[in-house]
């Protein structure tokens, strides 16, 4: 395959960036998209040019560190697919593919396609946990949990924290990410005790980080590589409202 990659190049957070075009020949359709970037980088290194900075690690679709805006869609054209699981057979021979980093105010560009997603960690720090110390937890079967509740919690817990939801949202909202964590823990008895405190604290931190509001366009759900349902956003709003109106704090 022949492919043209138009890639966002930006030296540092505070320098200007621009799209630069690279032509690639002999791309194997079985290659992954990231392996194509590897191929490009090997060619750039051979020419003495600086390789494109991008992040990847597990390359199995689970660590959540890769994430590119590919021809206008977060993680590229396939539904429920991370960038690392996208293969070149998805594209047409001769296609021009535009590759950009996540663009959202709270995610600062570090270099080229690498962005800083530490705001997500700070949102989890605000309350995305169960307050339990190690050492004396009761037997795991002491509290039965219905299969349905456990499955729903797992549906939400599948979030990999890649940030595609933020990148895809015109407002740069992190509602799907936060909703997933709120729902994951709220559906389990162990997490429900702090449920009201958690939902208030996480939303407050999300706002403090500068993420935008949700306007129900659901682009986040459409691009989520793990298929996290936007229903969790509605659930989070209900829980937040309940916590705000009825919790004694």
């Amino acid at each position: 395959m022949k492919i043209t990659l138009k890639i966002w190049r930006q030296k540092k957070a505070d320098t200007k960036g621009k799209l630069v075009a690279y032509d690639l020949n002999n791309i194997d359709p079985k290659q992954s998209f990231l392996e194509t970037l590897d191929t490009l980088n090997q060619q750039l290194i051979a020419k003495g040019e600086e390789p494109v900075a991008f992040e990847s690690d597990c390359r199995e679709g689970i660590c959540g560190v890769c994430g590119l805006y590919i021809s206008g869609t977060a993680h590229g054209p396939l539904r429920e697919t991370t960038t690392c699981q996208l293969h070149m057979r998805t594209f047409k021979d001769g296609e021009t593919i535009t590759v950009e980093p996540w663009r959202a105010k709270p995610f600062k560009v570090i270099k080229d396609l690498v962005v800083d997603r530490s705001p997500f960690d700070r949102i989890i720090q605000a309350g995305g946990f169960v307050s339990v110390n190690a050492g004396n937890a009761p037997d795991g079967n002491i509290v039965p949990i219905s299969k349905k509740a456990a499955d729903t919690a797992m549906d939400a817990a599948a979030c990999i924290g890649c940030g595609a939801c933020v990148a895809a949202c015109k407002n740069g909202s992190a509602m799907l990410f936060v909703a997933a964590k709120v729902a994951h823990l709220a559906h389990l008895p162990q997490g429900s005790i702090e449920g009201q405190k958690r939902v208030r604290a996480m939303i407050a931190q999300m706002d403090a980080e500068g993420f935008g509001s949700c306007t129900n366009t659901y682009e986040c759900g459409a691009v989520c590589p793990k298929g996290i349902s936007v229903d969790f956003i509605a659930e989070m709003n209900r829980r937040w409202l309940g916590a705000t109106l009825f919790d004694s704090k």
Binding site: I45, E60, E80, Q85, R117, D121, A134, S146, A153, I160
Partner: protein, 639 residues
């Protein structure tokens, strides 16, 4: 000569850990805040340790080279975590889990450590449930279990095919809770490049900030390494791209013994390599072997699609050779058997480098819905990569480097030969022997982090003589200068070959000669070739053109590959010196007539611990003799 006193408590094995916990010195709660502990790595072991130490009241600095602790490679573990709960009432017990692990490791692990692992495994599950890990449940609301390779009981707890992710998120959330409380200081995008030793004790580390390039020193009262394994010495492996040996190898060079580096695990169920472009191999969870049947055509070179090959022309070789374990035979055996049939030109797929993992029988038996519930996400992942649908056609699988049982030597307290330097999880050597059973890596990482290290490190802090040391000490300046000089040397590499291409060549060399089976000729040839490749690296590699004072992924890679190029020699040397076959270490010269591994308990029932003697000197092989008081060293048989 290294001091290899394992400090195993006396008494019956069931009481050793209880006795030890009582005998260890305690740090007064009010004094814990006076101690600073550095934890490097935030996977299952590191995150659980850092969180628990902080809960206890210590001041913790947690370092990881990822952008967030939630990315550590533990996240990729799919299948499950073992514990001896015996919920399914199928005869499991702490002793059986202990026995299976010792036997699975081919009697090359330390009894006392393994028993303790089995003992605390149940508390690990309880802790994770309490954190909100959404384990799979039965309709009655109780935890579900499944079986895994190498075990005849169902002791594996799981969260769909994302168990590692869910367990890591549990540990990460605990870590975030402590970060929020100010008890843990997080240092993401920071890579450890050296350990600082003061008066013979580990008192700090040297790091590079991967964004700014700034090289810094950090002091503490103790250092914990939880930096994972070294499978990427093979270049292609199931490990994440950034997994590396640097932290452990730098510690080795500072005096920590490196134990059993030749014990590497080749996982039997990975997607076969498709081409030269490939950057890594993808694991398919071993749990698939519960319902998948492994076979190859009986006839060599049979290129018919699998559906057209009738039953009587298929060889279900695992079921044929190992009737009692069948497709659930342990990983080393299943891997080697796959290689055997491929070596006999019976392999399937375009490159003949695969065997079928067929779900047809299970789909007929329980239906696609049930199979989808069990393995749906794995099937999807497989289809994305290969464009084949496993509901319709068998998966193609082949073994790939996956886990490393070798690692830094530690005593019963998880402390290396450098006082104060503790090593946990995959980075240490202690619990898996020569082979690891499925679903036990997660168990070990969390057992070390939640329930073992927090006790033993307290004993060290309470009993060691620790002088006041900060980063102004001359040893910190010296270590900092070493790291700066090494980085400068890497940045001067202006040759013609990329760092990746040299790593790829090293990987090929290791895979062919030091992979699933080894022999003296191949190992000697490798020992000759590695120094040449190292020379090629230092003469002809290229690290262009960004500086060291910025985000520079080529510099990061170069440092890791430079260490792999030295470590590979140690691994090969260890494989050469171990003249027997055991677990993941199979020497062609030492096999039974039927091709099974031939262990030599008389001469090799020991841990080989390598001691660095200087860059231009041969390392010294030390021995910790293994004593078996509770199990008989039988020949491993799964027939």
């Amino acid at each position: 000569m290294l001091n290899l006193d394992a400090k195993i408590p006396s008494g019956p094995i069931e009481l050793k850990w209880q006795k030890h916990k009582f005998e260890m010195k305690l740090v007064n709660p009010a004094n814990k805040r006076k101690f600073n502990i550095i934890v490097v790595g935030t996977g299952l072991a590191g995150a659980s340790a850092a969180a628990t130490l902080a809960e206890l009241g210590y001041n913790v600095d947690a370092f990881c080279f990822h952008d967030s602790p939630r990315r550590a490679h533990s996240i990729a573990a799919q299948g499950g975590i073992n514990a001896a709960k015996n919920y399914p009432n199928d005869g499991d017990s702490i002793f059986r889990l202990f026995y299976d692990t010792i036997k699975g490791g081919d009697f090359r692990a330390r009894e006392a450590n393994v028993y303790r692992l089995a003992e605390v495994s149940n508390a690990v599950i309880d802790q994770c449930v309490a954190q909100g890990v959404p384990f799979a449940r039965e309709y009655g609301g109780y935890l579900d279990n499944r079986s895994f390779g190498g075990a005849q009981v169902s002791r594996t707890f799981y969260a769909r095919g994302q168990t590692g992710q869910q367990l890591l998120l549990g540990a990460y959330q605990s870590l975030m809770r402590q970060a929020s409380a100010g008890q843990v200081k997080l240092h993401p995008r920071t890579e450890m490049l050296d350990v600082v030793i003061v008066n013979g004790q580990a008192r700090g580390i040297v790091t590079r900030n991967l964004v700014t390039g700034s090289i810094e020193t950090w002091a503490a009262h103790a250092v914990v390494l939880a930096t994972g394994g070294y499978s990427n010495v093979f270049y292609l492996s199931t490990n994440a791209k950034t997994c590396n040996v640097t932290a452990a190898f730098r510690a080795y060079k500072r005096g920590a013994g490196f134990a059993n580096p030749c014990y590497t695990q080749i996982h039997p169920t990975c997607i076969p390599q498709t081409g030269e472009h490939q950057s890594k191999l993808t694991l398919m969870s071993e749990s698939l072997r519960n319902d998948g049947r492994v076979w190859v055509p009986k006839q060599k070179g049979d290129k018919r699609p699998p559906a057209q090959i009738p039953e009587n022309e298929r060889d279900y070789y695992l079921e044929r050779k190992y009737p009692s374990f069948g497709n659930l035979a342990p990983r080393d055996i299943a891997s080697r058997s796959a290689k055997e049939v491929c070596d006999q030109n019976l392999g399937i797929g375009p490159n003949g480098n695969g065997v079928y993992l067929d779900f047809a029988d299970a789909l007929n038996r329980v239906g696609a819905k049930v199979i989808g519930e069990r393995y749906g996400n794995l099937f999807e992942m497989y289809e994305r990569i290969t464009a084949d649908d496993p509901y319709k056609t068998p998966m193609r699988i082949f073994p790939a480097p996956h886990y490393t049982m070798g690692g830094l030597w530690v005593d019963y307290n998880l402390m290396s030969t450098i006082p104060g330097l503790h090593v946990i999880g995959e980075a240490n050597f202690s619990d898996h022997g020569a082979n690891r059973l499925g679903a036990s890596a997660l168990m070990q990482g969390l057992a070390d982090g939640y329930f073992i290290l927090p006790y033993t490190i307290g004993h060290y802090l309470a009993s060691a003589q620790l002088s006041d040391v900060d980063t102004s000490h001359s040893e910190f300046a010296a270590a900092l200068a070493d790291v700066q000089a090494r980085n400068a040397k890497l940045l001067r590499l202006k040759g013609k070959r990329s760092v990746d291409s040299i790593h790829r060549e090293l990987g090929q060399l290791m895979w062919h000669n030091v992979g699933m089976s080894r022999n003296a000729a191949g190992l000697l040839q490798t020992l000759q070739r590695i120094p040449e490749l190292r020379e090629e690296f230092w003469q002809n590699a290229i690290v262009l053109p960004a500086s060291g004072e910025e985000f520079n992924q080529e510099l990061e890679k170069a440092g890791r590959v430079a260490d792999f190029l030295e470590f590979a020699e140690l691994l090969t040397r260890d494989a050469l010196e171990r003249r027997e076959s055991c677990g993941g270490h199979f020497r062609n010269e030492y096999q039974q007539e039927d091709g099974e591994a031939k262990r030599d308990d008389k001469n090799y029932a020991h841990v080989a611990v390598w001691e660095h003697k200087g860059d231009d000197k041969t390392p010294e092989r030390n021995i910790e003799q293994l004593k078996y008081e509770n199990v008989a060293l039988v020949t491993r048989s799964y027939k």
